[in-house]
Amino acid sequence: MVDAVPPKGDFLRRKASQIRMDLLQMIYHAKAGHTGSSLSDTDILTALYYGGVLRVQANNPKWPLRDRFIRSKGHAVEAFYCILADLGFFPKCELETYSQYGSRLIGHPNNKVPGVDMNTGALGHGLSVGVGIALSAKLDANAFRVFVLMGDGEQAEGSVWEAAMAAAHYRLDNLIGIIDWNGLQISGRTDEVMRTDPLDGKWRSFGWHVELAMGTTSMK
């Protein structure tokens, strides 16, 4: 078992709380947003960005050897923007423009924003893009890794499984898929909307190495 937020003093927990406060303020200010979904994966994002996992540079967002992060569950953009601003990818005051007319901080990730690699928002796309980036890294013998964050409701999209199959086929050990297994989606409990259990078993049968984490499932 791996704790989604490994204890590093209380730093990561405090950071996650701060990000939650920031995103609630942003959503309150904008009167729009995906509150539940963003609160749900704040721990995962905090671990990735502050826990020494993702190798990225805020002052050099296009650094060619950076680790890539694809937010395939693109609807939950708020925690992502708050973290990018907190890390200095763009000024924190810009968060006030979220969802406003003409703002680049639109309701789904978009690569006009420094630190965002791909535009997402339509579910089931991110893992395929991740496969392409991971393949490219292998072809060029680059050591960077690709992280793709998906929702558990998103697992109903058939294209996720096309990508899962291709990742195993090409033995992409530089691709890490993370599922925010929170059991909920917009229309109800995920397993009542469309049963995904056994989710870890499905991924294993597609040739993935699966690890279950506290409250979340991370796979690679």
Partner: protein, 283 residues
């Protein structure tokens, strides 16, 4: 026959097999492009332009990735296989997506020049090519493929015939038989649907006064519609749009289907003469 087997054998490290997975192939290509590669995606146009259209919209056009989408066996190339295998909506769909270029080369020379251009051209593109051998329009590779620039193949002042892809050869033949009857037509190879050569259309309307478009595509939203958008707003002149009727297209060989819907030199001649009120003109 359209096939990537020879390429895959010659350049195995530059070939990625994705299997029967049209959504995945476009996503993977977008990922490769996001890492600096120039991927060419090859898949039957009927599937590529429909099954993976959301990936084309979001992962290619919206994300501005340099992905070249090559829809092979397009139009009614798979004539006998029916509507599932016909791609007769692809121009309409692709040209409605901001940031996606759309082109239909007319023959093997156009294809070669287009591919050379594409390799150096930054941006997402949807290209439709056919499957079966087609008579050539050009005699050599000398005419360069300039994106967004229609090619005037024949000049004339009585009417303008506009084709795209495999219909270019047909409008060229129509112009020849019309010329024998004393009707001088301008012929445009409108190989690029986006970016769009609005000036060539405007000039045709202004200088020839009549426009006939011919396309291997449903008559809604394709070449004729794109021309009409310019004509009605900037220089209204009489137009005829020749293409596949709004119905599941009849099946048979591609040439039988072309004949069925009037994509023939003889029909274009008759339509043109009737438009000009010159049915009786014989040289």
């Amino acid at each position: 026959m359209a096939s990537a087997t020879a390429f895959a054998k010659a350049f195995p490290k530059q070939f990625v097999e994705v299997g029967i997975a049209e959504q995945n192939i476009v996503g993977i290509a977008a990922g490769l492009a996001a890492s600096g590669k120039t991927p060419f995606v090859m898949s039957p146009a009927c599937f590529l332009s429909m099954r993976s259209i959301e990936q084309i919209k979001v992962d290619v056009a919206y994300s501005k990735t340099n992905v070249k989408l090559i829809g092979i066996s397009g139009g009614v190339s798979y004539g006998a296989l029916g509507m599932s295998h016909h791609s007769l909506q692809d121009i309409a769909v692709a040209r409605a997506i901001p940031g996606l270029d759309v082109a239909l080369p007319a023959d093997e020379h156009d294809v070669r020049n287009l591919i050379r251009t594409l390799a150096d051209f930054e941006g997402g593109d949807y290209i439709r090519i056919g499957r079966n051998p087609v008579p050539t329009v050009y005699e050599s590779d000398e005419t360069p493929f300039e994106f967004g620039k229609a090619v005037t193949l024949v000049d004339g002042g009585d009417a303008t015939l506009i084709g795209t892809g495999e219909t270019v050869r047909i409008v060229l033949d129509a112009a020849s038989i019309l010329a024998r009857d004393g009707v001088r037509c301008r012929v445009l190879n409108m190989h690029t649907i986006k970016p769009w050569d609005e000036e060539a259309v405007l000039k045709a309307a202004n200088e020839t006064g009549y426009i006939i478009t011919v396309e291997e595509h449903i008559i809604r939203g394709g070449l004729g519609a794109a021309v009409a958008e310019v004509v009605v707003q900037r220089c209204p002149v009489p137009m005829k749009i020749i293409g596949i009727r709004d119905e599941p297209a009849v099946t048979g060989s591609p040439s039988e289907i072309f004949q069925h819907y009037g994509l023939s030199a003889e029909n274009i001649r008759d339509v043109t003469k009737s438009m000009l009120g010159r049915e009786g003109d014989i040289a």
